[in-house]
């Protein structure tokens, strides 16, 4: 009965992400790559998951990811999982489809799950990951996405559930590039109640510090929890995540091991490129970092940026302080 225990223990107040999909669709790989920094190639050796696994993550937002093995059938009565309870507390249901495989089975499974979950929890966000698209050509990816979207919405209409009722989103993902982080960023963002406040703060920061684009990243998973309201350019996002790696890795190289000082020191990294772009990274509270990009900066504004970032940090601390009460 230990499985039941795992599920019941989860605290109710933290948003939960439920990861589902047929077996071998790539759920465990996603978990390992996004949340445990595993190298994508190493995921080849992951064993098949046989029990529900739940993990909790603490950053500015606390959330937990629960992974269910693909072999389980939720509609058989003799289950040790309380399905009703399972879907009740879920913020986002992530359904993974292997796009390189025949996906009709997956779609009917998804349809059943949506119908079931919607009955229990009409507010549920269903996020469909069309996964492993690295193996598909650019054109074929879009075709596949269109086909899957069409089929899913047809079935929903047949079941008298409109697109408008079920909050359904589709993402093309692969663990071999940044798309999986991007998708998870969007999924997690929907679970953050303070998101509008963050966005507002970031917008103000942008307009007063000449930032072209700023992201608020979770350093460990490289998911961005918020960004300013200008459109996200994929390239900028990739460069920003790479920049986090550079800063953290370089700093770790000179780790002394012996003493645990410098806790009050915050990580700060600034890099200038030939074309006048400057990348900024400032560590924030609770494992978050602000990463931003400034174009054509003149040297005198540096101090201003630092000051504004400090104000932003204090803002975050205040939001968090209120949450803690």
């Amino acid at each position: 009965m230990s499985e039941t225990a795992i599920i019941n223990v989860s605290s109710l107040d933290r948003p939960k992400v439920l990861l589902m999909g047929l077996r071998r669709s790539g759920k465990s790989s996603i978990c390992k790559v996004v949340f445990h920094n595993m190298q994508p190639l190493d995921t080849l050796y992951i064993e098949s998951t046989s029990k529900p696994v739940e993990e909790e993550f603490n950053s500015l937002i606390d959330f937990s990811v629960q992974e269910l093995p693909g072999q389980l059938n939720f509609f058989e009565p003799d289950q040790y999982i309380d399905s009703d309870r399972l879907f009740q507390n879920v913020g986002a249901l992530v359904y993974v489809i292997d796009s390189q495989d025949e996906y009709l089975n997956a779609l009917s499974n998804l349809h059943n799950i949506i119908e079931y979950a919607f009955k229990i929890n009409p507010d549920i966000n269903v996020e469909v990951l069309i996964h492993k698209v690295d193996g598909l050509s650019e054109d074929f990816r879009l075709d596949t996405q269109r086909d899957i979207m069409q089929r899913v919405s047809d079935e929903l209409v047949d079941a008298r559930l409109d697109d408008g009722d079920v909050k359904l989103n589709f993402h093309l993902t692969s663990i071999f590039d940044h798309s999986i982080y991007e998708a998870f960023s969007r999924i997690i963002q929907k679970l953050i109640p303070e998101l509008p406040v963050f966005e507002n703060l970031l917008n103000v920061l942008c307009s007063h510090s000449l930032f072209e684009k700023v992201f608020l990243f979770d350093v460990n998973s490289k998911i961005y929890v918020a960004t300013d309201s200008s459109p996200v350019d994929n390239q900028t996002y990739e460069v920003c995540t790479d920049f986090i790696d550079v800063a953290v890795d370089l700093d770790n190289l000179y780790e002394n091991g012996s003493d645990s000082k410098s806790s009050e020191n915050t990580l700060k990294c600034v890099s200038k490129l030939q074309n006048g772009v400057t990348l900024h990274l400032h560590q924030m509270v609770k494992g978050l970092a602000l990463v931003g990009l400034i174009r054509k900066e003149n040297g005198q504004k540096m101090a201003l940026v630092d000051y504004n970032v400090q104000v932003f940090r204090e803002g975050l601390e205040r939001i968090w302080g209120i949450n803690k009460k």
């Binding site: 700093d251 002394n256 410098s262 990294c269 030939q274």
Partner: protein, 318 residues
């Protein structure tokens, strides 16, 4: 003078041992993933690389298929083995035909003895990532022992490295290879050392600009270094190389990087036209009470001041 600073490097090894992959990563800024696109090398591919301004590396990437190799040792041997400064022989550690690999190595050495007896010989045991972690040293040692037995009769001392394109070991090997070609190494070393002392830096590391291979490094204080990762220099190369790739996504290049971290403050900046320098300062608390160089303006000024001097040092003849 221009003639004497051209260095010929031979890259040898059996087909599929990874010669072109490592060349592309080090000199053409490929990522380890991109090397999948490379096809087999036909005959010899020449690349000319400017290195440290007045030095040109002529890299001869010799295709490793049997047909070509037979030619190298018969009709082309004069052409291939003349005027060689460095022979880099790459072995695939997972190779099934070890005897053949060694046979080719021996023939290489024999020809090298005949045409350029002063050449330096480096042996890279490549694709080490495929071996089990605890067996790597053992494999390496036995292999090196056999190879030395073959090389010593011809009067060559060989230096060996374990390499893999998936980690930083490749940078260490190539950094050593390239450093062995720099004539004024000691001068550079000395000047870097005094620069580190003057700047009160924990460490100063000098990199070549395009490859980001470590040319030299110096620490102002000898103590405290044992705690640090001994592989940190090649790791920096690896990190910055990856960063340079992401910079090229923005259609630009790295100019400067400043880091204030938990463990150090680091500055990476252009030094001369051909080099980058990384200056590592101790973490901020370490010099409490004294003048606190928060923006790093002092170190930036120091680097700027040293620029002209290092340009002269680079041009010194050994």
């Amino acid at each position: 003078m221009a003639g004497s600073s051209r260095k010929k490097l031979l890259l040898m090894g059996r087909s599929g041992s990874g010669k072109s992959s490592m060349r592309s990563i080090i000199f053409s800024n490929y990522s380890a993933f991109d090397t999948r696109r490379l096809g087999a090398t036909i005959d010899v591919e020449h690349s000319h690389l400017r290195f440290l301004g007045h030095m040109t590396l002529n890299l001869w990437d010799c295709g490793g298929q049997d047909v070509f190799i037979d030619n190298y040792f018969s009709t082309q041997k004069d052409h291939i083995f003349r005027m060689v400064e460095v022979l880099i022989h790459v072995f695939d550690v997972g190779s099934k035909k070890l005897a053949k690999d060694i046979d080719i190595f021996q023939k290489c050495i024999k020809n090298l003895r005949e045409f350029s007896p002063d050449a330096k010989v480096f042996v890279l045991l490549h694709k080490m990532d495929l071996m089990q972690l605890n067996k790597r040293d053992e494999i390496f040692n036995t292999m090196m022992k056999t190879l030395e037995e073959h090389a010593v009769p011809f009067g060559f001392t060989i230096r060996g490295f374990q390499t893999s394109i998936w980690d930083e070991s490749l940078y260490k090997a190539w950094s050593s290879i390239v450093c062995s070609l720099i004539p004024n190494m000691t001068a550079i070393q000395n000047h870097l050392k005094s620069f580190a002392e003057i700047s009160e830096a924990q460490e100063a590391v000098l990199f070549e600009k395009t490859t980001f291979l470590v040319i030299s490094h110096a620490s102002a204080t000898a103590e405290g270094d044992e705690n640090l990762d001994p592989k940190r220099f090649e790791k920096i190369s690896n990190i910055i190389k990856t960063y340079k790739q992401s910079c090229s996504k923005m259609k630009s290049q790295l100019k400067r990087l400043t880091l204030h971290g938990h463990n150090c403050s680091a500055y990476i900046d252009n030094l001369t036209g051909n080099t980058f320098i990384m200056v590592v300062m101790p973490p901020r608390e370490a010099h409490e009470g004294t003048f606190c160089d928060d923006d790093g303006s002092v170190i930036v000024t120091n680097i700027r001041a040293a620029r002209e001097w290092f340009e002269k040092v680079e041009l010194l003849e050994g």
